[in-house]
């Protein structure tokens, strides 16, 4: 144990005495100073550029005017967005019809045509006549009602063969009379 301790202490002494040799400290210090100066130069050039580009914002009246101008732009933007949004909502509820051509719907797609009339706005130009929306709605309602009743009637006739025969005979005789 004592021998080991002795060896340990001798080894430590040897290592302590052997200071690592750095070489010339001046060379190292020059390198360090050059790096410090390079960093300073980079920082300074960056500062100069930033000052050149943005230095004017440090002027009092310029800064205040910019703040006011930016507030104004924000307000204008918000107002515009509101107006645009309102117009988009209005447009989405309409079908815009351009031109003044009159519609001549066939019997089969009268429903669709009337629906188009309904959604195409408050007034529909048709030659020299303008039809208000209210009247158009009344027309569509009465048409739908009439159509329903007609279908009911047809169904009744179909269900009763005697009635069907009677009506067919009546219609035939009327047709003959009108031809005469």
């Amino acid at each position: 144990m004592d021998t080991e301790n002795k060896k340990y202490n001798m080894l430590m002494d040897m290592l302590r005495k052997s200071k690592p040799d750095m070489g010339d400290p001046e060379i190292l210090s020059e390198k360090i100073l050059n790096r410090i100066r390079d960093r300073k130069r980079k920082v300074i050039s960056l500062e100069i550029i930033v000052d050149y580009l943005f230095g004017w914002i440090y002027i009092g009246w310029v800064r205040k005017s910019l703040v006011i101008a930016s507030l104004f732009i924000v307000i204008v933007f918000v107002y515009q967005q509101t107006v645009i949004l309102k117009k988009v909502n209005d447009l989405s509820e309409q079908i815009v019809v351009t031109g003044d051509e009159t519609f001549a719907p066939s019997k089969n797609d009268l429903d669709m045509t009337l629906l188009l009339y309904k959604f195409s706005g408050r007034t529909i130009p048709s030659g020299n006549v303008n039809i208000p929306e209210q009247q158009l709605e009344q027309l569509i309602e009465s048409y739908n009602e009439l159509k329903e009743r007609y279908e009911d009637l047809l169904k009744l006739i179909e269900d009763d063969p005697e009635l069907k025969e009677y009506i067919e005979k009546s219609l035939d005789s009327k047709n003959r009379e009108s031809n005469l």
Binding site: E4, N5, K7, Y8, M10, L11, M12, D13, M14, L15, R16, K17, S18, K19, P20, D21, M22, P25, E26, L28, S29, K31, I32, L33, R35, I36, R37, R39
Partner: protein, 181 residues
């Protein structure tokens, strides 16, 4: 170690005085860095980085008296960073040749000074199985001859932890010496 006036001048931003400070203190920083990293080139780079950091933050130190502790703290932390990056020297095997060098120097010429390369080999051999914290405590205490209090301040470890790490390092190295020498 260092003149307080010189440090105060550097705190004012005087680069020429900082050059003097670098020349005075870089050997101390190099000694620790070289013993920690075992590589001359890496030790020099670490010392450069350390002193640049010192320059950038010298205004923050509380007083000139705390400069020495601060210098060592920065260099030790930079060494930890290097070790963590995996930049330490390659894994060292217990080499008969190195034990021979140790033995020859102890027997023939115990007061001789070792070359950098030999010194690096021996320290790496002895500390190969130590953790970075154990290694730094060993180097600061045994080789840089610092006190426990100084090591506590530099490393931030508690006194108990410093003692424990030192004990482990000594035991480990003594075992190796007993086995190979």
């Amino acid at each position: 170690m260092i003149d307080k006036e010189l440090i105060n001048e550097c705190r004012k931003g005087d680069l020429s005085n900082f050059k003097k400070l670098v020349e005075l203190t870089s050997p101390y920083a190099f000694s620790v860095a070289f013993r920690m990293l075992g590589d001359e080139e890496k030790a020099r780079d670490t010392v450069q980085d350390t002193l640049i950091t010192i320059w950038e933050k010298i205004k923050r130190i509380k007083s000139a008296e705390s400069y020495k502790t601060w210098l060592y703290r920065v260099v030790v932390n930079k060494c930890y960073d290097q070790i963590r990056k995996g930049n330490r020297k390659p894994e060292f095997r217990a080499d008969d040749k190195t034990w021979e060098i140790i033995s020859n120097n102890l027997v023939e010429n115990p007061s001789s000074e070792l070359e950098n390369e030999e010194l690096a080999e021996i320290i790496c051999l002895l500390t190969d199985r130590l953790s970075p914290k154990q290694k730094v405590v060993f180097i600061l205490f045994e080789l840089e001859e610092m006190t426990n209090d100084e090591i506590t301040e530099i490393t931030g470890m508690s006194k108990t932890r410093v003692k424990a790490n030192l004990h482990f390092a000594r035991k480990n190295i003594a075992m190796m010496i007993g086995k190979y020498l």
